[in-house]
Symmetry: C2
Subunit: 607 residues, 2 copies
């Protein structure tokens, strides 16, 4: 039954040999890997405007140069990542690039930053997508946490179905969003440029008090807008999911994605400026733009629905990349090795489930309102950008392959700009929560190292040394605790006799009367083994048995004590409640002792 | 560590031979067994007045005749239970009396009614005690559920410490309440009779619209007041907890309790009438009386604190009786037998924990507001009274011991009155929830019978028949699944060789490369057993193994297959997360098969 449910939810298992057929076309890869980056468009402009408005409406003019700077940055980072894909055709996530060129610890820092970023992305994007829905349907608001968990569960299951299936499922809303945004930007620009429609003016309620616009404010606005860049690295991380030739296809997809994002982002910024839009508490900037251009017609609603969907789907990029990175770390011994094994559908199922689980916990803790998490994740993103680009600079310096002069300049430019921005974000967002990352990333790196040490020690102590190994049978002695003479205990006794000539029965004397009865039965049946009766003044079954076993193993430290426990299996599950689970309790009490082997011989009760 | 915590909370274990020293003096028994009955005084008058006020202030005059009727009823039932104690000196709860004289099913109905009543008593009394506290300290109101759970936990732990210790602990607040109530009643009566103080008049806001007072209303008021009788049967149930001569001491304590209760109840009713007290939403009747007599001085606060404490302590009577009744039922096979065993401190620990747990669940479900449960539990109480008294009538008819004429009249009177009242409560409270009991009690009786059938069937199929039993060793074959050649698997192999000559190794081929490596190692080491390699196209370890074992056991249905699994134990608990718990998963997958014996040979990893 649970197996059937599993088949229904995630489909039939796939053979290992199917792995190559699970690759993605560029069309689907754009949907899988870009939803995070594309969704950023839905809020990056708003973040910039929200910062600027604190200095008054006139400061909003600064949004144009800031947006151009961010678009330029987007181009630089994309360009820089194209070099990375070229150099690391089998997957060049920040972890690998940093590890190869800057050392393992640097790689782990990048990995920790990325993993943190992926978890936060899931929580933040699902929460903001659900917020878009609940602001349209106000009566759903009390159920926002449940809706968030539902969305995460849905995305988790879709990803467990496999890379191709989740690509198919999620490409429709991604392209829907791209198309509606394109229509909005193009028709908006057309109206402004050719029809000279100046559609709106600043609303009279807008805050008109002009403050001095300081450099710190500009930097903060710029840092806020940099969230537009989150998700760029996803493609370089996921090269093995592309069809061959993988690096070429990945580069093409990356360039397409960058062009789409830059167009949508700058388009939105220009429209916001021309339409003189002021950020507002109850209506998003995108919604104001769409309303300004289309009025409240069906195109407006398309933009709103598309925005909500793409925000939820941004989580999907993390689901594609987190398990992949975790599996790489697990294979290197830095994370639990369960993360490295393919599930039924040839995806890293444990990583997917783990990501889903952690995100749900975050969503529950923050009650589906994840605004406070946003400053946290920009730090992680830019830190990993910087490490990766810096790694690439060292890569070219070492290799000096043909054309390295060009590549090193590109990557150095990328490293420099993202490094500066990491600093800017840290400084401007420090008190807003970025400090948490400063503590959390080293802790994670420490944990990775401890896990690795454990695996190394384990492997060393498990290794069989030398060619000559001792395979003499171990000395064993069988003890056979019973609660009475029954068909079940007789069967267990016959098992004992089949594995050893040295069997001793044990009976715990909780109640003198019962003990005498059992003793009489034993005598009458002439059982062929000696019996030990253990007194139990405090009525416990376990304590006298454990003490006895410990005494015996102290007397013969090099002997294995085998405990054979008779156990019957009731016919119905609820019958288990009606019987003392003595076998289980004995097992729990003695499982820490390495020279005690515990076996239960079970018998089904007849109908 | 958990063992130390346990010692701290409930004390050192007591030897079985200490049982007789755990008896209660009459002084302590009154505290343990009467808190339920005595606490009823705190709300019975109020319940009567609340019913009457619906017909207007003039109807409150009827409280005097109704209270006198209830006091008379109290005397009758007490008198009747004295006969029961005399006839059943080793404990005559309703279950035993009804079973002995009216048959097992009748006994089970009484038992079901009583057990339900005990659970409801804990929930209702703890909730009302905490309500008394939160109405004094309003800012605790949001934490009422937590406070309820804390109170239940406290009472549970006190009871786990043992009968004597909980008696000592709880006798102080019980006597404190009795003393303060006596002072209040006596000084109130003194003021009215001798000082002719007519302290208050009906407040002008009181509802003055007079309605016709129908017989149904009077009956409902009477039925509501009958909650004063809950808890009378506790002593007859707990006779074995008294010091010898048990029945004599129990009778004395019962009489004392009845006199205390009748005095306090009638006193309260008279004072309420003389002081012209109208039930009020935000202040209890007792509080109004105390305020009227003392003013808001320290004596008033003593009454309030005493009331809160006794209400919480009323739960303690259930904790004394529920585990005892459950143990009697368990010994007869009607409840899980774990309920019948004495814990460390010679109390029925499982019953105590079970009662605490169920009450906590009820308190959580009803959010600490258990008003709706009150009509439910009066039905159970009076149903069990009626069954017990009726049983006694049949008892005397059968035995015809000296003096039976007198006893039968007393018990018949008791049976008749409580029977009528059961009917009255059922009719007047039916739609308020009493119908739930009509459904719940038969379900519980059915469950008791099903449990009994299961135990009987189990015993029958476990019984060894005939003198000649087959103790030939069973045929066994050992299979030995490994994930690689390690020190741990070599040790397990040595164990295999010690228990059987027929050992076969198993390796699951998830990955061709690793399989070839292991194969080479096996060949090189010249291991003395054959190996089977199982293919696993879907990468699962478990499925191929289970299929193989099932095939083998189909081939040899009368053979025991012993599976020896090598397992290593990491040094720290968190390391378990880092390893696949394959042994556990194999155990879970195969534990339903009775001719498969699963053993793990464990080895501690060295430091």
């Amino acid at each position: 039954m649970p197996s059937k449910l599993r088949r229904f939810l995630i489909g039939d298992p796939l053979e290992t040999s199917q792995l190559v057929h699970q690759r993605l076309s560029n069309y689907m890869a754009l949907a899988v890997f870009s939803s995070d980056a594309i969704s950023s468009v839905a809020y990056a402009t708003e973040e910039v405007l929200l910062m600027l408005i604190t200095a008054g409406v006139m400061a909003l003019e600064l949004s144009i140069p800031i947006s151009i700077a961010i678009a330029a940055l987007f181009a630089i980072v994309t360009w820089s990542y194209r070099q990375t894909i070229h150099a690391y055709p089998s997957g060049g996530g920040s972890y690998i690039v940093a590890k190869d060129n800057l050392g393992t610890e640097a790689g782990l820092v990048a990995a920790a930053a990325l993993l943190t970023d992926y978890v936060l992305t899931v929580a933040v994007s699902v929460a903001s997508g659900i917020a878009a829905i609940t602001s349209a349907f106000q009566n759903l608001y009390p159920y926002r946490v449940e809706l968030c968990l539902l969305a995460v569960t849905f995305i988790t299951i879709a990803n467990l179905r496999g890379v191709r299936e989740s690509g198919k499922l999620f490409s429709i809303p991604t392209y829907f969003f791209i198309v509606t945004m394109f229509i909005m930007v193009i028709s908006g620009l057309y109206k402004i440029l050719f029809l000279h429609e100046s559609i709106r003016h600043y609303s009279p309620q807008a805050n008109n008090i002009a403050h001095d616009v300081g450099i710190f404010l500009i930097l903060r606005a710029f840092a806020s807008g940099c969230t537009a860049l989150t998700g760029i690295e996803a493609i370089s991380n996921g090269i093995p999911a592309f069809k061959p030739p993988e690096p070429r296809n990945a580069q093409k997809t990356l360039t397409t994605m960058a062009m789409v994002c830059i167009f949508m982002f700058t388009g939105t910024a220009i429209l916001a400026y021309q339409l003189k839009i002021v950020p507002h508490e109850t209506e998003t900037v995108i919604s104001q733009i769409a309303r300004g251009i289309f009025g409240k017609n069906s195109l407006y609603y398309c933009v709103q629905v598309g925005t909500a969907l793409i925000l939820i789907l941004a989580a999907n990029t993390s689901f594609a990349d987190f398990p992949r990175l975790a599996s790489i770390l697990a294979r290197a011994g830095f994370m639990p090795r369960q993360m490295a094994s393919y599930g039924d559908r040839l995806v890293f199922a444990n990583g997917i489930i783990f990501l889903g689980f952690i995100s749900c916990i975050l969503l529950i803790i923050f009650g589906g309102s994840t605004h406070r998490l946003i400053p946290l994740y920009a730090v992680g993103v830019f830190l990993s950008f910087t490490m990766s680009q810096t790694g690439m600079v060292f890569h070219w310096l070492k290799r000096r392959e043909p054309g390295w002069h060009y590549s090193i300049v590109v990557n150095a430019l990328g490293a420099l700009t993202t490094g500066i921005i990491t600093g800017v974000i840290l400084v401007t967002k420090f008190i807003h929560g970025a400090w948490i990352i400063i503590i959390f990333i080293p802790v994670l790196v420490l944990l990775f190292n401890r896990i690795r040490v454990h695996y190394k020690q384990t492997a060393a102590s498990l290794a069989v040394s030398g060619d000559k190994i001792d395979i003499e049978p171990l000395k064993t002695r069988v003890f056979f605790p019973i609660s009475g003479i029954t068909t079940v205990s007789i069967r267990a006794l016959r098992f004992c006799l089949s594995i050893s000539n040295d069997v001793t029965g044990i009976y715990i004397n909780v109640n003198q009367e019962s003990t005498e009865e059992v003793q009489a039965q034993i005598d009458m049946m002439k059982l062929p083994i000696p019996f030990v009766i253990l007194d139990s003044p405090y009525r416990s079954i376990i304590r006298p048995l454990v003490n006895f076993i410990d005494d015996e193993s102290r007397k013969n430290p090099d002997m294995i004590i085998t405990l054979v426990i008779p156990e019957f299996m009731p016919r119905r599950w609820w019958h288990y409640v009606l019987h003392n689970q003595t076998a289980m309790v004995i097992y729990a009490a003695l499982r820490g002792r390495e020279n005690v082997v515990i076996t239960s011989v079970r018998k089904q009760l007849p109908k």
